[in-house]
């Protein structure tokens, strides 16, 4: 009999998504033990269960075993199936939590994935849908995943406690990926952004735009920030204690290379309770201070730099790994802990190691040190796709 490739074993619920995604792609079963074993409320949380359910929906033939307390999970991956799927995400985490993993899996389905995700579009913890749309999609395009049906659409916006947002994501299927050489981040030519507001006055968004411009203008004059105000049904579920802060995400565009550089993904720090009901006069002040933190964190991201922003580092590295047996290179800012763990996981799942070189910034004032990551792809081919 064919030996079933031996399973990997991990402990703890951290990096659950990484492990399950890599397991699905590599075909190696994974066992995760001690999930919040010492917690008062042990076992998998709702959002994790929802994630596992989502995985089950998009795959065929996967085996998932969870013990009584939910502290141990065994996952034997099936083949990625895709097709038209609808999924209600947990409101505890943003849709970004689910979408990040879907972005890793979607190009390797049997049928092109067309998924409707419902839940929280923008929250404090996960990268918001707008950010992913602005950064992850162009990144995937670098790897040859492109086409008419490749889109991410925010149908409705939903904010944390209530949710009610809706996102449509469709992605074509590819058999092989192109190797990439993203070593020159280029210069930021213009800054584009989107300022959204939900269930507040549309003027709020404009104020955000103004305050953001005031800071960013010091760097570059070519700034355009769209405002996106959603009303009625498309503004998510009303919630009694809903705090619906307006948000904004900006992206800077490089000149020559079509690389989309940066996304300042940080949502607002939690606004004070009752902010919405506060008198009108204090509103703009609060808003102004909140908005001005945003460009700051933006410049922080620019300081970190690199060709891929920190949120999508792991996605980029994964797609490099899954490329043909060619050399891929990418220049990144400082590696996030999530990426570092992801690199380790890549080694255990695919036996792949990245060559890591630090590129100190020279005389140029380009922000922090950069890391050049190089790898040879494993020659991955989409085993799910049907040959006609």
């Amino acid at each position: 009999m064919a030996t079933q490739s031996h399973s990997l074993s991990y402990a703890g619920c951290n990096f659950l998504r990484q492990r399950l995604v890599l397991s699905t792609l590599s075909g190696r079963p994974v066992k995760i033990r001690k999930i919040r074993a010492r917690d008062d409320n042990p076992g998998l949380r709702d959002f994790e269960a929802s994630f596992i359910r989502l995985l089950d929906k998009i795959t065929n033939g996967s085996r998932i075993e969870i013990n009584q307390t939910g502290t141990t999970l065994y996952y034997q991956p099936g083949l990625l199936y895709g097709g038209a799927v609808e999924h209600d995400c947990s409101d505890l985490r943003g849709i970004g939590y689910y979408l990040e993993s879907l972005l890793c899996l979607a190009p390797f389905m049997k049928h092109p994935l067309r998924i409707v995700l419902r839940g929280v579009t923008n929250d404090q913890v996960d990268p918001s849908v707008d950010v992913l749309k602005a950064t992850a999609l162009p990144l995937l395009k670098q790897f040859g995943i492109d086409g008419e049906s490749f889109e991410l659409k925010v149908v409705r916006r939903g904010m944390p406690p209530g949710g009610g947002g809706e996102v449509f994501f469709s992605c074509p299927v590819r058999k092989v990926l192109k190797p990439v050489q993203l070593t020159d981040p280029g210069k930021i030519k213009r800054i584009r952004g989107i300022a959204y507001s939900v269930r507040v006055s549309p003027q709020m968004a404009n104020r955000i735009v103004d305050s953001a411009r005031s800071i960013l203008n010091k760097f570059i004059p070519d700034i355009y920030i769209y405002t996106d105000h959603m009303k009625g049904v498309s503004s998510g579920k009303p919630h009694a204690a809903a705090l619906l802060p307006p948000g904004c995400s900006l992206l800077a565009l490089g000149p020559v290379s079509p690389i989309l550089l940066l996304s300042p993904p940080h949502s607002l720090p939690q606004a004070p309770v009752g902010w919405r009901r506060s008198p009108v006069r204090s509103g703009p002040i609060l808003l102004h201070s909140a908005a001005s933190t945003r460009p700051r964190s933006c410049s922080c991201v620019i300081f970190a730099g690199g060709c891929i922003d920190s949120t999508n580092q792991s996605l980029g590295l994964l797609l490099m790994t899954l490329g043909q047996q060619d050399v891929s290179k990418v220049l990144l800012g400082p590696l996030s802990p999530y990426t570092i763990e992801f690199l380790r996981h890549l080694k255990s799942f695919f036996q792949i190691m990245f060559k890591i070189e630090t590129k100190p910034c020279g005389e140029e004032l380009k922000g922090g040190d950069k890391v050049l990551l190089t790898c040879v792809g494993i020659g991955f081919s989409n085993l799910s796709k049907t040959l006609k």
Binding site: M1, F219, F354, E364, L365, T386
Partner: protein, 1284 residues
């Protein structure tokens, strides 16, 4: 005489040279133009017909595009592995002879017995691995998958044989390597014409199979049992210059054709159980793609395995060094065939075996030039180790008798003894274990240090004390603890020092990292060792004291010993062996190397690096020694100190790691608080981009864990360590799973400087020199002419590029003399190059998509080559895996013992690497076609053997065909001349992979053995093959259009599932199931388009999913005993089983054929009504003959009654007539007789008459003749006769 022998020079009358001459001659005569027909007669070449021209153009374009292949990235390695040449043919065709001749041709050596692959160097850049392929279909299939070139031997005196065609088909399915036919036995033809005809016939048949124009080589005959030298030479030449196209499967998978096998199983295990699973190591050149350590492989004929270890070895059959010369010299003509016992060097993990064959043609020492030194040193090392070990023991035990007797049998206790000396001095029980291990580790980890340090250094260091020990102590006693802290602080500074002073350390990631890995291992070993040793307890102290006395004499051997210990460590401490990771091999080797150096170190010459290192060490040691002296009086033990120095170095490195580590473990460790105050911003930067980022990510595996857990690690067992590369798992185990990176120390972005730090990220910032527009502009202004010209051009509005170019050229000419400075020249060159590039591009017109793609691929290929070129193999292997062309050694565990016991070198051993999830099993769907030469059709659910990917396995396929609506309908048998689908449960293989199927791989079948071929289409975890199911029912109550139907279902639930389904009667009335009825179980109400009859049968057509039997049985032919390897038989088909058991199928009686008995049919007469008859015309009226009625009485004649008289008369007359007739009869007979006699007489007379006449005539003629003769004579004699 001599002048006659010399040939007279003949002028060439044809060929390029002659033509050239002729042309020149004509030109000299000024009639050169006449030569060119195009010029002479231009009208003849003018366009005659636009249509024809279009057509011819179209045709040339078609031909051109036909030649295009999809461009692929050229991934062939710079030093490619030997080309696999498979020599294939039916028995007794001359395969072995050909191989022998080829080897002799290339190497001038004669191999009498050839077993397994033979690798030879055939040219400056090419090596060949020649292997013979017999007629076992297993072998044919396996070798077709790895072959680069197939030499297909054909017995011309016999013609093609089945094996040839089978092999061709196998090749076709698995990618079609280059195939070259070789005709042998051509000397058996007597007549040249017959030979020619046969050649032509065979050639054309061969062409239809391979491709038109495929090379077919003729070996005309044998001389002294060998083929003719010239022909073999030519063949060899063909092979060496042959070009190959990459095959998809081969280039995407790593594979090895093993040329050596070793059993590494512990002999004790074999003794206990001869059938125990074995651990084997296999050697061979890696081919195809990069091989990763710990990946999965498949051995055709054996099964799937995980690689437990891979290491690369020096090339045993290396290509000659690149030199500029035309051919190889004798020394470089290597041959390597360990299975045949040929080939000088065998590399083992820790030893080298040199076969010093008597053959003078094969001079060992010179051939392996690149590895020569290594080999020699290794050989010497090997011997010295043994010597040392032996000597050390002797000396050890000679001093202490009781000790020797106790410990000789137990090596595990011998090791701690060494360390116990230290124990005595410090007076700590615990330390000895640590020290012992640390000493080992230091040997392990500090190989580089060992290498670099000279003996003198070590003596220097001798004054310094043992620090690492103290650190351990520090944890135990307070006083010492303080000191330990001091040490730590100092080290903090030293760390910085080292980073400044040791650029080599800081920059060369790989060396450092490797060493750190070793440390990681060492630490693990340390811990585990600790426990063991502590159990060893105090008992050994006494013994150690004895040893301590003679510490000085032992100094000479210290290094050897410590290294020896390192080698033995794995044996004694099991944990350590477990934890050694894949780099274990390297460390072992390094250990050897280092040992070597220390041996010769009496006259060791320190190199540049070494001296640097020394300095550093000297700098540090004063400090460390201070601390040490505070703690302890001058130590006598020099060994300890040297090792401690190493420990110190090591710990510094550790510390550095920890530094890096701290990026994540924020505030987890005590020392970090101190550090954070001191390091501040610089540290933050360091944190973000430390030179050892790699170590942070991949290295120092469980360091943190170990420090914190200590004993608890034991409880956790191996589970954690297997797959927990993260150090911080403790604190981060259950933290939030979020990809966002929160920067801990955000800068204050309101400050101007901080803001300036990213100023250059924007287009408004400063640009690089080569990109800065302003600068380029400024530079260009040096040569104002250019700018002026271009602007001038623009002004003139001359878009024509030609004029522009010309002008530029003119300008250049103008400038050239003026431009004297070298910088200017350089700039000019650059410009010219750019212009040339532009021109080239412009002239070619727009480059096609194909060209672009090709260029892209070329670029990628170059990048692939260049990326890791400058790194040493050790590091390279980690990043990209083992690259093809390397000679590797692969260790595999738990191989069935039969593989070793029944090892037959004639059978190829192939290790095929498996891609991701190719080791998994699932449903595979494929497009299949029964081979047109296979005699039978294939039946669903009959087990059949597939060859897909690397594997050969038996499985049970189901055949299906896809209906127009996408439904996959089960077939009982494969269709005859059509493709059909097939699904089986088996190993996942990528789509697009070809496969073939054979009914059985055992024995010899009379006919063509390949049953089916095809391609993998889809992989899935579920299948939807259906077969038709008809449910029938009968009406039991009929209303108008509604009927109640029973007998179709068994329960109301079943009916409910089929509500609304379409049903039909046999007579064709359509209807629909409405609702279940209560009364008879399973009955339902249905409505139809018409009223039914009670006799109608109602049926419903449904589709029933078929399940595929999950049967997958790899063909384990290599496990069969020698000589029976072609007898593997797996599951038998039901038909075979029935035949074997003599069980006859009990057929359904109704389906039996019976003799047809037809009853005689009686037709009634046709009755036509009278009225109709009357109406009919006469012609058509039935002609009924009226029966002859009775003759009326009046017509009837009366009977005559004669009178008695009359009666008498009548009687008399009667008598008379009888007499008369009798008389007449007699007379007639007599007359006849008479006539006969008369005739005879007459005949006789006639004969006599004729005879008489004849005689008469004879006489007459004779006389006449005589007369004539006489006349003649007289006439001849002339006038003389008359006178007579």
């Amino acid at each position: 005489m001599e002048t006659k022998d010399q040939k007279k020079h003949r002028k060439k009358n044809s060929g390029p040279k002659a033509e050239k001459k002729k042309k020149r001659h004509l030109q000299d005569l000024q009639i050169g133009d006449e030569e060119d027909a195009r010029k002479r007669n231009p009208k003849a070449f003018a366009v005659q017909s636009a249509v024809r021209m279009a057509r011819s153009f179209h045709r040339t374009q078609d031909l051109k595009t036909k030649k295009h292949h999809i461009p692929v990235v050229d991934r062939t390695p710079l030093e490619p592995p030997p080309i696999v040449v498979v020599v294939m043919g039916p028995p007794k065709v001359g395969k072995s002879t050909l191989i022998q001749c080829l080897i002799r041709n290339f190497t001038r050596q004669k191999l009498t017995e050839i077993r397994g692959p033979v690798t030879i160097v055939s040219g400056k850049k090419r090596r060949l691995t020649i292997i013979e392929c017999g007629c076992d279909i297993n072998m044919m299939i396996d070798l077709a998958k790895v072959a680069d070139l197939v030499l297909m031997l054909i017995d011309a005196s016999f013609g093609f044989e089945m094996e040839t065609f089978e092999f061709l088909n196998i090749c076709q399915v698995h990618g079609f390597p280059k195939i070259m036919g070789v005709l042998t036995h051509l000397d058996s033809f007597k007549y040249n014409k017959q030979l020619k005809k046969t050649k032509k016939r065979l050639k054309h048949r061969f062409w239809t199979e391979v491709y038109p124009g495929a090379k077919l080589f003729y070996l005309s005959g044998m001389v002294h049992g060998e083929y003719q030298n010239q022909e073999i030479h030519n063949l060899g030449r063909f092979i060496t210059v042959m070009k190959f196209r990459p095959l998809t499967w081969q280039t995407s998978h790593p594979y090895i054709l093993a040329d050596r096998m070793e059993d590494l199983t512990n002999p004790e295990d074999i003794r206990k159980n001869i059938k125990c699973d074995r651990k084997v190591s296999l050697y061979g050149y890696l081919r195809g793609a990069h091989l990763k350590n710990k990946s999965q492989i498949h051995m055709p004929g054996v099964g799937d395995f995980a690689v437990s270890d891979v290491s690369f070895l020096p090339d045993p059959c290396a290509l000659p060094e690149q030199q500029k010369k035309r051919c190889l010299n004798e020394k470089e003509k290597l041959v390597y065939a360990p299975l045949s016992g040929v080939g000088g060097v065998l590399y083992d993990k820790d030893a080298v075996y040199v076969d010093l064959g008597g053959s003078h043609g094969f001079q060992e020492s010179d051939e392996v030039r690149p590895t020569h030194e290594l080999v020699q040193s290794l050989i010497s090392t090997h011997s010295t180790i043994d010597a040392k070990m032996a000597s050390s023991r002797v000396t050890l035990f000679s001093d202490s008798k009781p000790l020797g007797s106790e410990d000789i049998d137990n090596q595990g206790q011998w090791m701690p003894k060494e360390e116990k000396q230290i124990d005595l001095e410090t007076g700590r029980v615990r330390r000895k274990a640590i020290f012992g291990d640390e000493e080992d580790e230091s040997g392990d980890s500090d190989d580089e240090d060992d290498e670099e340090m000279s003996e003198g250094d070590k003596l220097d260091n001798g004054s310094s004390a043992d620090e690492s020990e103290e650190e351990v102590d520090a944890e135990m006693t307070d006083k010492v603890y303080m000191a330990g802290k001091g040490v730590k602080r100092q080290r903090l500074e030293m760390d910085e020092d080292s980073e400044v002073d040791l650029p080599a350390f800081a920059d060369s990631d790989d060396d450092l990292e490797r060493s750190s890995e070793d440390e990681g291992e060492a630490e693990e070993a340390d811990e585990s060792g600790e426990e063991e040793d502590s159990t060893a307890g105090k008992r050994d102290i006494l013994e150690s004291s004895v040893v301590g006395d003679r510490s000085k004499p032992r100094l000479l051997q210290t290094d050897g010993l410590s290294d020896g210990l390192n080698l033995e460590n794995p044996l004694t401490i099991k944990k350590a062996t477990l934890t050694t990771s894949d780099s274990g091999h390297c460390t072992a080797e390094e250990a050897f190397a280092s040992e070597d150096e220390t041996e010769e170190s009496s006259s060791l010459s320190t190199e540049g690096e070494d001296s640097e290192n020394e300095e550093v060490i000297r700098k540090k040691f004063p400090k460390s020694s201070k601390v040490a002296s505070g703690q302890r009086l001058g130590s006598e033990n020099l060994i300890d100190e040297t090792s401690d120095v190493e420990d110190l170095l090591k710990e510094e490195e550790d510390y550095k790691e920890e530094n890096n580590y701290s990026t994540e473990t924020s505030g987890a460790l005590k020392w970090k608080e101190d550090l954070s105050r001191k390091a501040a911003e610089a540290f933050l930067r360091q944190q973000q981009a430390t030179p050892n980022l790699r170590k942070l990510i991949y290295g120092t595996v469980t360091e943190d864990n170990e420090e914190e857990d200590g004993d608890t690690r034991e409880e956790l067992g191996g589970l954690f360590r297997v797959s927990q590369p993260s150090g911080e798992c403790k604190h981060k185990l259950d933290s939030l799973d979020c990809s966002r990176f929160h920067v801990e120390a955000p800068h204050d972005w309101d400050l101007e400087e901080v803001m300036n730090s990213i100023r250059d990220c924007f287009v408004t910032g400063k640009w690089e020199d080569d990109k800065d527009a302003a600068k380029i502009l400024a530079e260009d202004e040096l040569y104002g002419d250019f700018e002026d010209l271009e602007t001038g051009d623009v002004h003139k509005g001359k878009p024509g590029p030609d004029t522009q170019i010309e002008e530029v050229e003119e300008v250049k000419e103008e400038i050239d003399p003026s431009a004297e400075e070298s910088a200017k020249k350089k700039h000019l060159d650059k410009k010219r190059k750019l212009k040339e590039m532009f021109d080239a591009e412009y002239d070619e017109g727009e480059s096609t998509y194909f060209d672009d793609l090709k260029g892209e691929m070329h670029k990628q290929a170059q990048l692939n080559r260049a990326e890791f070129e400058d790194q040493d193999d050790e590091a390279r292997v980690q990043y990209e895996g083992f690259r093809p062309g390397m000679y590797v050694r692969i260790e595999i565990e738990s191989v069935p013992c039969e593989f070793v016991l029944n090892f037959d070198p004639h059978y190829p051993i192939i290790l095929g690497g498996l891609g991701n999830s190719e080791g998994n099993v699932g449903y595979v769907q494929m497009r299949l076609k029964k081979h047109r030469w296979y005699k039978k059709i294939l039946k669903s659910r009959d087990p059949i053997i597939f060859s897909v990917g690397w594997r050969r396995f038996q499985t049970i396929p189901l055949y299906y065909i896809e209906d127009h609506n996408g439904r996959q309908r089960l077939l009982k048998y494969t269709p005859q001349h059509m493709h059909c689908g097939a699904t089986f449960w088996g190993p996942i293989t990528p789509q697009g992979t070809g496969f073939l199927a054979v009914q059985s791989v055992s024995g010899i079948m009379p006919d063509f053995r390949i049953a089916a071929t095809g391609v993998v289409l889809d992989l899935d975890k579920s299948i939807k093959i259906v077969k038709k199911l008809k449910l029938t029912g009968f009406p039991y109550k009929i209303f108008k259009n509604t009927s109640f139907i029973k007998g179709m279902f068994n329960s109301a639930l079943e009916v409910a599932k089929f509500e609304g389904a379409v049903i039909r009667t046999v007579s064709g009335i359509r209807g629909q199931i409405k609702k279940a009825l209560r009364a008879p179980e399973g009955a339902f109400r249905a409505s139809f388009e018409d009223k039914l009859l009670m006799s109608d049968i109602v049926f419903m057509r449904t589709w029933y999913p078929v399940s595929i039997p999950a049967f997958y049985n790899p063909v384990t032919s290599l496990l069969k005993p020698v000589g029976e390897k072609d007898t593997w038989s797996g599951m038998r088909t039901t038909g075979q089983l029935r035949l074997a058991r003599g069980v006859r199928l009990k057929p359904n009686k109704d389906s039996l054929y019976k003799p047809i008995v037809r009853q005689k049919k009686h037709f009634n007469s046709l009755h036509i009504p009278k009225a109709l008859q009357k109406a009919l015309p006469f012609k058509n009226k039935p002609k009924t003959q009226a029966k002859a009625g009775k003759i009326p009485k009046d017509r009837r004649r009366p009977a005559v009654i004669r009178e008695p008289h009359e009666r008498k008369v009548l009687a008399l007359l009667d008598a008379l007539s009888t007499v008369h007739s009798q008389k007449m009869k007699k007379a007639k007979e007599q007359r006849h007789l008479h006539n006969k006699e008369h005739f005879k007489v007459k005949q006789k007379e006639e004969e006599e008459k004729l005879k008489r006449q004849k005689d008469l005539r004879k006489k007459l003629f004779r006389i006449q003749g005589q007369k004539e003769r006489r006349n003649q004579k007289s006439s001849l004699k002339g006038p003389e006769e008359p006178s007579k």
